[in-house]
Structure formats: structure tokens, C-alpha cells
Amino acid sequence: MKLRQFIAIFVSKSTILALHLIRRGGTTLPGKVASKLYPGILKSIAKDFEIIMVTGTNGKTTTTRIIEEILKKNNIDYITNKSGANLLSGVTTLFIQAVSVCGKPKHKVALIESDEAAFNQVTKHLQPNTVVVTNFFRDQLDRYGELYSTLNAVKSGLERIDDTTTIVLNADDSMCASLGINTSKRVIYYGVNQNAYQGSSEDINSDAMFCIFCKNKYTYTNHIYGHLGGFHCTNCGYSRPTADLECTGIQEAGSSYTTISWKCTSALLQDDKELITRINLPGLYNVYNAMSAAACGLALNYSVDTVTSALESFESGFGRMESINVEDKTIKLILVKNPTGFNQVLSFLALDSTALNVAFLINDNLADGTDISWLWDVDFEQLNSISDKIDGLITSGVRGEDMAVRLKYSGLDTHKIRIIKDYHMLIDEGLKKTPSGGCFYILPTYTAMLDIRSILMKKFNLKEFWK
């Protein structure tokens, strides 16, 4: 160094300032500039941070935000990236902002959400102390390629980092759990016990039905959803590992929260008694997000009290389930991006007891995935079981017409399906049909969410209803 590093940080910080002055919140450009001037910049300035990384296909953002809540409860001085800045350049920008011009860290902990496809790149520069891997579900094949390539990329990333790292893995996901086999790192597994939840039977369209090690078909003692569950290979013996932290029961699945019981093995807690926690999030997929974040928190030796209070107080953000009150009605925005996530959102809608009005906003921009074939892997057929409750379905976005076709072929009454491309009209129509005290659900893909948010903000004069 250190002149080169100094210049890189200085120029990059100036870029951040300049972007800020012209009111552009650039999160990637400053990092790109810095890496161009000094390719070793990230490695150099990040080395004194204690780093927690979260990756996987589904639930990264929610998991990261719950871990953030745990850090807050423990008064930890931390930095963290926003979900839109989870590639190498965004991560670099974050660290540039977090060090002095001389490269000295201004904070203790860095909590990093990493895109699963970028994880292998990011770990060339960062040495995480803890890595949480949420799961592997098919996601945007046009962008990431095949699911097994994604898994292998994460595997290479993990192999690159020191053996002192703790890895927190999903026991119920045969792909994710395989990352804990043949490693000398400390492995913590989390999962949902087979007695906690009786999922549907085998889903023939799910990922990973055949053994990752020997290609024999798995047998399952139980299914949770997708390929998650009690898998077992009768040929090579690979099976669901024992979970160190396990959800043992679901007491109540509300439309805005979930009450669960859970317990840990001595790997995480001395005390093995069952705990009851009301997670401030609905939906089974959020039970997994909560379990993974809790396992991470306990693996980092934060107290069980701070972990449970984080789960109870956590509030989701940025389209992961946001509410806007409009007079006596509520608009709920829920991001959808891949089949498994979408299926979970649909099961969540079924919990609503009033007439259902739902809008599906499907775009096919790069950030959404340019291939919309995935809509056909979503189980919209499950809506047939609540068809009496469905009042109106609106489809919109660049691919609103395709979405209407999808709903039609699920067997739902086509009279209930309307294509409304104009977002203002869509909001008006949806709210008009929603009964007093009821909820109008808007399910957008990523870029559609950005569009509908800015329209909602203007329309209802909201000032940053999200953080």
C-alpha cells in the first residue's frame, strides 16, 4: 500500500459524496471505482471486521434483517448492506463507507447479504466468521444457470474460507445440508421437526429428488414444502442431519405472526428446554428464516433472550410483506420471485378469512428474470381449494397477459381474472372491491415492486413508508 489504497478509498468516497450531492444513492459505482484503482481494496479494508454472511436462494433478506435485529438488541456496532447491493461492487461500496480514508474500520461487525451467484467471488475478498446458507430452490435459471451450478459455486466459496468459520445450514434441504458433509468447519444445522408440521405429500415438480451424492431417489419420512423435509438415501445413507436448533411445533399460524415452539441441542444452548416464541412474521417460510437467524445468533454466543426478543419485534421491509393503510383498508405488498416463495405466499393468502382481492404484477426485466416459465412451476392450482373466497384477481406488469393465461389454466373462473396494465387504475379497482377492514394484496416481481411502490407513495402522499 498504502498510497494506492488511500487513493482508491479517497476517490471512491468522493464518488459517494458526488452521487449524494446529485441525489443519486449509488451503491455499486463507488465500489467499482475503488476496485479498478486497487483490486485488493476490499480484502485489505475488510480484514479487521468480524463478518457474518448470509446467502442462499430464498429468504436471504429477511434472514439478514432478523440477524440485524439481534445485533441491535445486543448493542453491537455494525454495518450491513441493502438487498439491492448484494453483489461484489455493492459490498465493496459498503466497506469503503465503513472505513476511514486510511482504511481503519469505524465499526466492529459487518453483516453481509450475498447473492448466491456472487458468493464465490465475494469470498475471494472477505473472510467471514459465520456463514448462513438459507436454502437452494430453482430461481431465475436464465440468470443463474442450473441449480446445481449455484450449489457448487457456494460450495467453492465455502471451501475457500478458513476452517475457523462456522457455517449455519438448513437440515431439511438436502442440497444445503450437503455443504456440511466432509468439512472441518463448525457446522450448525437448523430445521423443522417432522412432528411440528405435516406438509403435503411428495411434490413431483420439486427440486432435488435424487441424492446429491449417489443419484439414488430419496425416501422421505416427512415433507415440509418443496424438497424440504426428512430426506434419506437408502443407497449411500446420506440423510437429514440432526438439527441443532429445531422448530418443534407450530402453535398458531396467524396472518401477521406465527407462534412456534423450538429447542436447541447442547451445541448451541446448555439448557435444552422448549421455548415458545411469537415470530412477528406470517408464513412457514418465515419460520425457516427465523430459525436460521436464531441459529446464527446463538452460534455467535448472543443470549437466547436477545434472540427471542429480536424474533418477536422484527419488522419486515422492502416488499417482503409491507402494509399501507388506506382509510379502513390495507394494501399488503409481498415480493414474489421464484416458485417456492410464490407457493408460500399463496398458502399465506389462504389464511385470510375475508374475500380475497389479489393483484399479480409480473415483469421480465433482468432483475426479475427474463424467463417467465417459472410461473408454470408455481402451484396456482392450490387456489382452487379456496375459490369461493376469491373475489377478484388482477394481472399486470410487462407479462400481465401471461399471468392471466397462467391463472386461467389453473382452472379458476376466468370471469374473476382481469388484466389491468395501468397501476393507478389497478390500485383503484383493487381497493374498490376490497371490503371495509379487508386487505388488498399486491404481489409484484422485483422491478414491478419498485414501480408500484413509487406510485403508491405519490398516490397516498407517503413519505418513505419503508426504511
Binding site: L141, D142, T370, I372, S373, E401, V405, R406, I417
Partner: protein, 248 residues
């Protein structure tokens, strides 16, 4: 009442790109036309008796899964599939399913993997994937007096080449098609229809779906004449939106 038996081959393995939509389209449209359609899933270890089926569907899978089925496909189901093809059964094979019907797949480093050899075509691995919306035109299917424009989405690195007896399914209007160079997409032999297009292919190309259903019904019932009209407003809207967007 007419009755169609549809076989979904390897649904638990060749299911990567939303190809389930093709089964839904066949089943729903048959129903809307007043035809009874039964779907049977047949996978590794289950016997495939081609005489029991009128339409056979094969989707695309990831390399991992395609390796798993290869032995079962060649040793257990190969001869029945070839029988079915020569007895003019209707097949729809998408992406990986299309490649598997051919003679072999040659990887980029020259390794040859033996495939079924039911059709005279072969695939060579490429380094770059061909990904994006595709529109192709098929003069084999009539759409109100014009060749049918078919829309889909392709995502493949294999380049497929057709032997002498095999006709291309259509001419590429936008996209890459079979190999990105000769301007053709898919393959047709007897009543076997192969394509790289998923999306899913059938739901938003209802004329193609009805064409396949009609072919199967003609094979089976001497008194079958033709299918009636359905309300395809949504399907046509989805199809024309894509066509207008990429064929400006």
C-alpha cells in the same frame, strides 16, 4: 365421448423449466373441448407401454437429472419409444427431452454421450448459452391461412443439427433456435414435435396445442373430424404481446 391418454415421461426429473404448463394445457384444452384426458406419470423403474398412450411428453432437465435417466431411457424405454414413433403416436419433446431423442450429445471437449437415437439428429455442446425470447414460424400448422407464429423462451447451450429425414419445426424469426446458425428451430418426424421453446410452450400457443390434440384424436378415432373454437382471448393477448415486442 373421446378419450385421450397422455403420458408424462420422467416428470420428477425432466421438470426444470415450467414444462408442467404443457401438460396443463393439453389437459385443460382437451377438457374445454369436451374430451376426457387422463395423465399418467411414468418415471425411472416404471414400465412404459406405448400402446396405452396417445400423447407422450418429455420436458427438459438439468445435466444432473439427465444423467440419472439416461440408462433407464436407453435400456428400459428406448424400444417402446421407437415403436410408438413408427406407429405415429404424438410426441412433444422440449429442450433436454428434444436432445435425448437424438443420436448423441458431444460435449465441448469431444466426449460423445450416447442418446436414444429415435430421431436422426444430434447435439454439440457450446460454450455460450443461447437465452431469450424466441419467435418462429411453422408452415406445417395453419393459422387462418397463414403459417403459425409460435412464441417461447429458449435457454440451451447445445447446438442441434438435423439429419436428412428430419424436418425443422419452423423458421426462426427472432432468437437462436436449433444452433444459432442455420435459422431453424425444432424438429418434426412422423408425429413427433421437438422444440427448444419452453415458456411454457403450449399454453400461449393454443393453435399448436389443438393441433397436437387433433393429431392424436385422428390417430385414434376414425369418426373424429375437428375440434371446435374456444375463447382464447388471454392466450392470444399473451402471444401477440411478445410477438409485437420482439418483432418490431
Amino acid at each position: 365421448m373421446f378419450n385421450l391418454n397422455i403420458c408424462h415421461l420422467y416428470p420428477d426429473l425432466l421438470n426444470t423449466y415450467g414444462d408442467r404448463g404443457n401438460m396443463l394445457a393439453l389437459q385443460r384444452r382437451a377438457m374445454w373441448h369436451g374430451i376426457n384426458a387422463n395423465i399418467t406419470n411414468i418415471t425411472i423403474g416404471t414400465a412404459f407401454d406405448s400402446s396405452a398412450f396417445d400423447i407422450v411428453f418429455l420436458g427438459g432437465g438439468q445435466d444432473f437429472e439427465q444423467e440419472i435417466i439416461q440408462k433407464d431411457l436407453l435400456d428400459q424405454k428406448g424400444s417402446e419409444i421407437k415403436n410408438a414413433i413408427s406407429s405415429m403416436k404424438v410426441f412433444l419433446c422440449i429442450c433436454g427431452g428434444y436432445q435425448l431423442m437424438g443420436k448423441y450429445y458431444k460435449t465441448w471437449d469431444g466426449k460423445e454421450i450416447e442418446f436414444l437415437g429415435a430421431l436422426d439428429l444430434w447435439t454439440v455442446g457450446g460454450s455460450e448459452r443461447m437465452i431469450g425470447n424466441i419467435v418462429f414460424e411453422s408452415d406445417i400448422i395453419n393459422d387462418n391461412g397463414n403459417p403459425l407464429k409460435i412464441v417461447g423462451f429458449e435457454n440451451h447451450s447445445g447446438r442441434t443439427y438435423l439429419g436428412d429425414g428430419i424436418r425443422p419445426f419452423g423458421k426462426v424469426l427472432s432468437g437462436n433456435g436449433n444452433n444459432g446458425t442455420d435459422g431453424f428451430e425444432g424438429a418434426i418426424y412422423n408425429n413427433v414435435y421437438c422444440s427448444y421453446s419452453h415458456g411454457s410452450l403450449l399454453p400461449k400457443n393454443p393453435v399448436l396445442t389443438d393441433h397436437l390434440l387433433s393429431l392424436a384424436l385422428k390417430q385414434k378415432y376414425a369418426d373424429f373430424d375437428s375440434l371446435g373454437e374456444l375463447d382464447d382471448t388471454f392466450e392470444n393477448a399473451a402471444r401477440t404481446t411478445v410477438i409485437q415486442r420482439i418483432l418490431r
